[in-house]
Assembly symmetry: C2
DNA sequence: GTTCCCCTTAGAGTGCGCTCGAAGTCAAAT
DNA sequence: ATTTGACTTCGAGCGCACTCTAAGGGGAAC
């Protein structure tokens, strides 16, 4: 699959795919005879996971660290799990914060409704 | 109240308070005899609201727009409410997205637990 | 065969939201 | 009187995560 197709299917731009590869977030994308990138289904799955990490607010540096742990093999499973658990705690906290702020927003909107 | 006290109580830095004033997010902070900023309780309340908008992801440009509507008086109440409602919809969508991604995270963590 | 378009790399540029630095003022403490 | 330290303005700088440009290389379409 070409970089454009991979971009389409992952929701990332071709620029971003090259950037991710450059910083080590995607490792070993295949190349065709002309040296062009040739993405496999597996790459797409990995991109989908990376995207979840990003959209939940994990910094790119941490994603790199996680990727490096994965590359080092099964002896890093504990550390990887710990990273994800810390991240999960942050995501939960963020949801809680947003939910709180939502109440303030509701209140303000109701106030405006009353004044109109 | 001095800028340092206002920073302390709002959770923003003094630098950020000056920046917010410069871009029009805070309007008419009082000055004392020496020309130093002298924050009132009302300013703190406004800062708290601004902070809620920021932490829920409203761009600073939109916050400026909202502030300008407020400055223009009661005839902008409808528009202000509309802004907040659009923002609320985005916040709700964001919470839904985070909650979804949280499930994927849970799944992955459970997988790691199984492998350890 | 040449036009066209997408690909490659390496490095520079962008937008956002601050954050800091320089140069100067002022007031209280020593 | 002078040192200290917090304040002022204005403009420059920074960190993050891309995003784009330049220069060049295939390879399919006309």
């Amino acid at each position: 699959m070409t970089i454009q197709e991979a971009a389409q299917r992952s929701g990332l731009s071709a620029h971003t795919l090259r950037y991710y590869e450059r910083i080590g977030l995607i490792h070993s994308v295949g190349r065709n005879a002309s040296g062009h990138r040739d993405y496999a289904e597996q790459d797409l799955e990995w991109l989908a996971f990376l995207t979840k990490l990003r959209t939940t607010g994990m910094p790119v540096a941490d994603m790199c660290r996680y990727t490096e742990l994965l590359r080092r093999g099964p002896e890093t499973i504990g550390e990887r799990r710990a990273m994800l658990e810390r991240h999960r705690a942050r995501v939960r906290a963020r949801i809680a914060e947003l939910s709180q702020d939502l109440l303030a927003l509701d209140y303000k909107i109701d106030m405006y409704r009353g004044q109109e």
